[in-house]
Point group: none
Chain length 209, copies 4
């Protein structure tokens, strides 16, 4: 009975692959035409499959979109966690590694940002989206605040409030994304990274530069 769920057979794997194919197509469509103008027909076409395919695998458009956002969040999460794992154990290095990741071309490319902003545009309206976004913000805020906390403790930076600094850091990267979305031509990754570095070194002069 539970076999299916326990060890996915060939069948289930194929199914999973098809779903992923459709989610990829959805992301492509949203980045090309926007969330509002993306139809299930577009998605099916992009995937090279037929009209009815999305409802077959996702039951409804709403569900497809929610799953797409979920996938986007997971994908980001993997990058985030991997960055954390791969970076040296000291909090200062980890923190700057995370900031650097957020500005990496792979993350910060207009096509992908377009999709994030498309979903954020509906966050106020669609509770499912809000939940997903709020959860990840919470998670990353906690992690970053923890690192900042450690740095403050290490460096004896009295008078610095961990939450305040963490908020500022998260905000900076989010804000950079908006710049990158709106002005992809003039947006400059180096300047962005400098801005982050300048903040860090202003805050924690003993740790950065």
């Amino acid at each position: 009975m539970m076999v299916e769920a326990e060890k996915p057979g060939r069948r289930a794997l194929a199914k999973q692959r098809r779903r992923q194919q459709l989610i990829d197509a959805t992301i492509k469509c949203i980045s090309k035409k926007g969330l509002g103008s993306t139809t299930l027909g577009d998605v099916a076409g992009e995937a090279g499959l037929s009209q009815g395919i999305v409802n077959l695998h996702f039951n409804s458009k709403d569900n497809l979109l929610a799953e797409t956002l979920r996938y986007l969040a997971e994908e980001y999460d993997e990058q985030f966690m991997q960055t954390l794992e791969k970076s040296p154990p000291n909090p200062a290095a980890r923190l700057s590694a995370l900031m650097e990741m957020a500005l990496k071309p792979a993350v910060c490319e207009p096509r992908k940002l377009a999709v994030w902003f498309a979903f954020w545009g509906e966050v106020k309206t669609v509770p499912t989206y809000r939940k997903i976004c709020a959860d990840r913000e919470q998670k990353y805020d906690d992690i970053i605040r923890g690192l900042v906390q450690d740095i403050i403790r290490e460096g004896g930076y009295d008078g610095r409030d961990a939450k305040t600094v963490a908020d500022a850091l998260s905000s900076i990267t989010d804000g950079m994304w908006l710049s990158c979305l709106i002005n992809p031509k003039t947006f400059d990754r180096t300047t962005a990274w400098n801005a982050v570095r300048s903040y860090l070194s202003a805050m924690f002069p003993d740790h950065y530069l």
Copy 2:
């Protein structure tokens, strides 16, 4: 006698006022139901007028939305410029006044932010939106960079790059807006303001705190 003023529905308000009424209704609708789910019927209903009214005054839905974004941008611009005019003439005070304004409840309320993000969600897709947004970003970036420049010169803060700092500041407020949109409950204006202040005082210790 005052009847006319009482019921703004039905009959010939000056053309300009009717347009504004419809733009207001549009903003309300977008903040309530999202851009994608706002129909012309909703807007007309919100304004207490009839189906055809929007096309009568704006010719098309696309145009209504563009005009709405334009209005939003103008409204913000007025706040921005007024803040600039009313603040003391020294650059440090002006800069902090602008930052403070960006976090003011009137600007930073979830309902209004929802509308901004709704439009940003389509920026990649709708050239008109991009143009409007890019122009204002440009303008504010220039002004803020100018102020930062002045502060650097005044304080002899060698090694500080005006553009870098200005980018960081703009990004922080934009990023705060995202937090406020996603987590209106836990978002705390004071913490946000502290984050900005902490950055400023770390950067320009002689000018702030």
Copy 3:
């Protein structure tokens, strides 16, 4: 009480002039955009007047169109009857004068024909149009048959049936109009006139040529 109707005062005259102005505008619009695409707004615009003007003078669009067709028919009738009056008293001359008139540039110009065909296109559907068109056809058929009759009698053309010839003649001009409508470029008035002449001289060799 009946004064108004008996001798139209200044008021009534002005009214009449306005109606004519609107009918003229209607004809222009139909020839430019077609019957189906002509709106009351177009007509009012063409006349340089305001939206509601047509309903003020004609009560409804249907009525305006019917009156327009009526006017067109009257205008044609005047030409027809004048041609008849001005031509020499012998039936052969009168007949050829009528045929010539039907091919006159003023009658047979694509712009005017477009309007006629537009109405004919609805004849099957709109009883009012049918009535107007049927009545005039009847009238002209009768007159032409009469002339043909006279010619037959005069020339002793035995075996010629007046109705048959009259039908053929009416049909030829109507058919020429279709050619002129469809192929205004290649349509040639002279050839058309030759075709009519050739028919007449074949039928009544003693009278024509």
Copy 4:
């Protein structure tokens, strides 16, 4: 078993058949209500199918109408060419066979004529219609002129111009159609046919009668 054939509604008729079904429905609707008053809803209803069906198969109303006219033209063309093939090889017989065909009940019935005139009514306005109509006129004119040419040569009818005669003949049938449309009650096929015959025998006495 025969169920499929019985109810042509609902399910997947071959795509081509469905298109034809809709074109047939369109013709029926136009002849009943006129081109201007025929809605896609009417057409779908007439075909016993649902609202969206027409746009599914024709993409737009304009396209449906153009295809309908195209079909009408093809249908006529088949009759024309078949008549030509089936008639004896001498030009005189072929010519009269073509004229006779044009007055056949199947061609010359008010319902079908209503549709032709509906399209002619828009010829001036819709380039697509003009093109289709102009092309067929051209083709038939050429064929008829060819036949007339042959007859003139055969009979040594000096002084007869083929184009002139051909124009007259084409015009007569077109004009007869207008009579038939406007006065279906009093229109008499025999008289019409007589008119054509009388012209032919007057022109080419050795060949006709």
